[in-house]
Every structure is written in C-alpha cells, then in structure tokens.
C-alpha cells in the first residue's frame, strides 16, 4: 500500500444550524487518505459521509460550519479557508467530484462539449482547437465513441449511463489529484453500474488518481475499493483494507450492514436487518452511538465512547467488543458465506 498521505483529516467536527437547533453532523473524524488509493466511505443515509467529503471542497451549505479540527491537503489546512478565492485553487482543479444523479448534474441547455470546455478554460486556460482536441481525448477516455459528433450533442441525447460518463469526463478534465465519487451508480441499472465501476477503476489507474468513493451499498465497493471506512452517526466506526472489512469485519455495525445484503440472503429465510433507527444528531450522544441498536451492546457502551482498537496496523475498530476484558462475540453465521476463495455465491 502506498504510504504517502495526500489528505489528512484530524478531529473534524462539523455542525449545522437548523431552525435554531445545532446538528452535530461530523463528530470528531480522523482519516488519512493515501496517494493513489481508492478509499470507500460506506454508511446509511444521514451518517455524514457526504458532508465529510463536502468539507474537502468547501461545499457545505450556508448553515453548516467546521467547528474544530483540520484538513491538511497539499500543505494547506482546508478547514481554515474562509474565502471563495481560496477554494477556487482546490475545487475542480485539485479535487473534483462526481455526483449521484447524472440527470440533474448536467446543464440541459449547453452541449456537453461546452460543459467540458468550461472546466478546461477555467482551470487550464485551454481555448479553441487545443480545447477541442482535449475534449475529444477525454470523451474517448470515458468510453464515449465518435467524440467529434458527440461533443456537439446535448445531455438529453445521452442515456443515463452515458450522462454519468460525461459527468466523470468533466471531473477528470483538469487532471485532479483527488476524485470524489458520491454514489455515482445509485441512479443507474445494475448492468450500467458494472460498466461505470469498471470505468472509474480504469481511470484511477490511468491518471494515478486518488479516489474517494461514497456509497450506502457495501456490495458495490468490493469492486473499486482498496480500503473501506464504515461511518455511523458522523463517526468512522471501522476502517481497514477491503479484504479485512469483507473477510474479517469486527464492528457489529459492519456485521449488520454486510448481513443485510440481499446477495447473501437465502430464499425463504428472514434477511437480517438492523433494528431501530440511527440516533438523533441534535442531542449529545453518550458512549457508543450504535449501542442502542447493537444486540451485543455492553454496559460500558452506553457510558463511554470506545477508543480505536488496532486489529492490524491497517485495521482499526471503534468498539468495546475488542477490549481484552469484553466477552467474546461471534460474527453472524451468514458472513461465513463471503469466502476468500474467489468463487461465486451462486455456485453452491
């Protein structure tokens, strides 16, 4: 694994002001992103995964602010940025983003060539023929054939999967160092999803990008991620290599997420689901945020926030279950269906 850190988040706290009440969306997250890796951030809606990555680009809504902590990137602390002109050096140029819904993230009134050209003109000063050549290159890179014709077309002339390719083209147009993909395949068919995932993997390799991939579906990230961070209620509860998270997960929340995947379900049996709802982030959370929904919760879980326990140097888990004094709890039996041998689940 490459060890050079490109983005380093320390004790980040993000709060929002909602109708006079304060919502504590990110609760003390620390995270290192290494150069050239693909990191997946997984969590339910409302777990703060999108908010976390929005802080990297200065895209928090007006009612939100970074309360404390630092985000080191390229020798600068992004958490200290106040003015828009600071962000213009970073946003789109060094860190770029692909959003969930390709139907809404493109301008319907501009040809896609112009939309990619905008990014090139703004960040690299490319104009005219040079810009045109570059646009065609990029379109080919994202798998759009016949770019000379296609660049003159408008978003409505593209299918959902093709539009997402265009969005990706805009994101990589300026050779960013970091590419953030926020649920890029949620709005797409399974077959198109597989193609887009393949495309992202290929581009990451070709352009030596660092990729942060956000999703709620653990089933999807096995394809793209080198490392996985599992978020719950504004905090990272488990982080490790893809193999560690899938083959030997340790946090009960990761267990619950994995075992609720329909891919692992057996027909005629109940699919395991997580009871209850995530805690309200308006109120102070005492102890482990997952404790009320955790069937294996210990008394201390309700009193004190567990520290990170190191399972291996790359695998950290925030759960009291890993304390030497804790009783031994076995992961759900269904997880043994994910086996290291690369055969399909359906071959049985």
């Amino acid at each position: 694994m490459p060890d050079e850190t490109i983005l380093s988040v320390r004790d980040l706290n993000v709060k929002f002001n909602l109708r006079g009440r304060t919502l504590h969306a990110i609760r003390g997250v620390s995270l290192d992103v290494y150069k050239g890796e693909s990191l997946a951030i997984v969590g339910e809606s409302g777990s703060g995964k999108t908010v976390l990555t929005k802080t990297f680009m200065g895209l928090l809504d007006n009612n939100g602010w970074i309360d404390s902590g630092s985000i080191l990137f390229d020798g600068e602390d992004l958490a200290k940025f106040r003015e828009e002109k600071d962000w213009l050096k970073i946003r789109g140029r060094k860190i770029a983003m692909v959003l969930q819904d390709p139907m809404t993230s493109l301008n319907p009134l501009k040809s896609i060539g112009r939309q990619i050209g905008e990014a090139l003109a703004l960040h690299q000063g490319l104009k005219g023929e040079a810009a045109k050549r570059r646009i065609q290159e990029i379109l080919l890179d994202v798998g759009i054939q016949d770019p000379a014709q296609r660049m003159k077309q408008y978003p409505h002339q593209f299918s959902g999967g093709m539009r997402q390719r265009v969005v990706i083209a805009i994101a990589i147009a300026c050779n960013p160092q970091v590419l953030i993909c926020d649920e890029p395949t949620t709005a797409l068919d399974v077959t198109i999803q597989a193609q887009i995932l393949d495309l992202i993997r290929g581009l990451v390799r070709k352009y030596h990008l660092t990729c942060i991939y956000i999703t709620h579906d653990l089933g999807v990230v096995a394809n793209v991620a080198d490392r996985i961070a599992v978020m719950y209620a504004g905090d990272i509860v488990e982080i490790g290599s893809s193999e560690e998270i899938f083959y030997s997960p340790r946090h009960p929340y990761t267990w619950a997420l994995l075992s609720s995947l329909p891919q692992l379900g057996i027909k005629g049996e109940e699919l395991s689901s997580i009871r209850g709802t995530p805690p309200s982030l308006f109120t102070h959370i005492q102890g482990d945020a997952f404790a009320p929904r955790n069937p294996h919760a210990l008394n201390i879980d309700f009193l004190q926030l567990p520290p990170y326990f190191d399972v291996t140097p790359s695998h950290k888990v925030r759960s009291w279950l890993l304390d030497p004094r804790a009783p031994e709890v076995k992961p759900p039996a269904v997880l043994s269906r994910i086996r290291r041998e690369g055969d399909s689940l359906y071959d049985e």
Partner: protein
C-alpha cells in the same frame, strides 16, 4: 368456477405501444406468461426494456395494443364492464418505486392510506375507515398514531411501508411491486423485503415483482422472467435460472451483480450482449420450453446449443 391449477393472471401475447402511426414505438412486443396463485413472479430487465409498461398494462393504466390479460380467467384488458372494473381496481394493487414521490405531501397518512376506500367502498362510516387504516398500519409495522402525521415526518423505509399499507387496505389478492426497494438504503431494503414476504405468507398474496437487480430477485422470487427490448428472452424457476442461465442476455445480467467479495470482484469480467450476435435472418427465433418450466428464446441452432449446455450441467455458468 376456476380450478386450482389455472393461473391467477395470464398475460397472452401482450403488446403495448406508444406514439402515433409513423412514430409508433412498441415498448412491449408479444409477451406471454402465467402467474400462479400465491407465487412471486419476477420480471427483470434494464431501463427501457418494457417491464414497467407490462405492469401498468396489467393494472389498466396503459391501454394494450394487442393480446390480452386474463385475471382469474376473465379478460381485463380493453373494454370491460363496470362490475369487473371495480373488482380489478380493488383486487390488484400497486407499490411504487420512490416513496419520496409517490405519497401526497399535503395529505395526512391516514387519508393517504384510506384513499382507495373512499373510491371503492363508499358506504363505510369514518369510524370503520379509521379502524381499517389502523389495521393496515399495524400490518406493516407502523403505529396507528402515525395516521395523523404528514409524509415528510417519515424516513424512506417508513414511507415505503405507508405505500404498502395503502395497497393492503384494499384487501388485494395480487400486488404489482415496481422496483419497490431500489430507492432505499441497503439496511432498509432488508426490512421491506422481509415485510413483503411476511405479508405474502400471512395473506396468501401473489406478487409481480419488477426490478433491474437480480440479486434481490433471487431472494424473493419463485420464478423469474428476463425481458429485453420488449421481448421475453428467458423464463425459469429462480434456482434453475441462477444455476443454468442459457440466454446470453441473462448471463450478462447475472455477471453484473456486484458481490460483497473483493477476490471475486477483482477477477470478474462483466459480459457484454449485442443483439447482432443472433443470426435470425433465416432461422426465426422460437419461445421454447427447454426443460420443464424453463423457457428460452432462440432459433433452432441456438436451442440445440442450449440443450447441450444443460447436459453439461457440471459447468453451471457458460462463459463467452
């Protein structure tokens, strides 16, 4: 009246078309299948394959352009008399994809759930209606107090439960679930899937489950039909389809399922499917029952190949 073995619903050479003469587009082009009482029948395909159009033609939202739909042996497509129309409206219900969009934001949950009763059972007193709403909400695991709240106060999973309660209150026999879980978080999906199968056991419901995701279908469906560009290409019992997918398009769909397994994912290749690979110029494709209950579309040469594949069942997945 009707024998135990006749299907609850029969779709016979169904065609659905949009647009006028010259710009006519056949979204569904001659689809036939039976759905038996108490089973969950899956319809899988990509966007634009016509799977939703079939569902809507069955529930009489879209007119049929050809063929017919038989419900309990009676034709329900085209012109039908009022009594039958009322019966169909009550007994066939639909669950929609996006619970954020399918509930009236301005109405209270109690009204949303009861709305069907206002239309079909006009004689009910408000107390009776409230009682029915209470039962329906309990059935889907919601508290009856929720009846006085508005949809925006609920999470996505709860909203989908409201959508299911709205269908249940009509005492339906047949439910069309059009991508009921694709807009939901994975953790909520499990809850909704469990709820659907519990309700089926308790009430003997029959489902038509429409989705683009085969991994979900394997968990819930008894039989699955694969549709591509308005034509069925394969139909089989779920286990059979997963063990022995014959049509190349089915194989593509199977290969696209993301697996929660890094070792498997890194080595996998997603297959591609191009209709041009079939040479149907001379040898026309047939819808053929290749083994009991397993239908596949192909011409004579392809069918012979498929039969051979079935014989070498030692290799469950045909690659290439």
């Amino acid at each position: 009246m009707m024998s135990e073995h006749s299907p609850l619903l029969r779709v016979d050479n169904l065609k659905v078309a949009f647009g006028e003469r010259r710009k006519r587009f056949n979204a569904v082009n001659g689809v036939s299948f039976d759905i038996h009482r108490g089973e969950t029948f899956g319809l899988v395909g990509e966007s634009g394959s016509g799977k939703t159009s079939i569902g809507r033609a069955i529930i009489r939202v879209y007119p049929t352009a050809g063929g017919q739909v038989l419900y309990k042996g009676q034709r329900i497509s085209g012109r039908i008399d009022k009594a039958l129309d009322r019966q169909v409206t009550r007994e066939i219900q639909m669950i929609f994809q996006d619970p954020m969009a399918s509930l009236n934001e301005r109405a209270k949950v109690g009204y949303i759930v009861a709305e069907g009763l206002y239309a079909t059972q006009k004689g009910l007193t408000s107390a009776q209606r409230e009682e029915k709403v209470r039962e329906a909400l309990l059935d889907v695991g919601l508290l009856h107090e929720f009846a006085s709240r508005f949809p925006h106060e609920f999470s996505g999973g709860q909203r989908q439960r409201i959508g299911i309660a709205r269908a249940l209150i009509m005492q339906p026999e047949f439910i069309i679930a059009d991508e009921p879980i694709s807009a939901l978080d994975v953790s909520i999906r499990a809850q909704v899937l469990n709820l659907l199968s519990q309700l089926q056991k308790k009430r003997g419901l029959t489902y038509l489950f429409i989705s683009h995701d085969l991994s979900v279908m394997r968990f819930i469906c008894d039989r699955i039909a694969v549709i591509h560009k308005g034509v069925l290409v394969e139909l089989a019992e779920t286990e059979e389809l997963f063990r022995c997918p014959l049509h190349p398009y089915t194989q593509l769909l199977l290969s696209a399922i993301p697996m929660p397994n890094p070792a498997h994912e890194r080595n996998k290749t997603v297959l591609t499917y191009d209709e041009g690979m079939h040479d149907y110029s001379v040898d026309k494709p047939l819808w053929c029952e290749i083994s009991p209950g397993h239908f596949v579309l192909g011409n004579q040469r392809e069918l012979d190949n498929y039969k051979k594949c079935r014989l070498d069942l030692g290799i469950p997945q045909v690659t290439g």
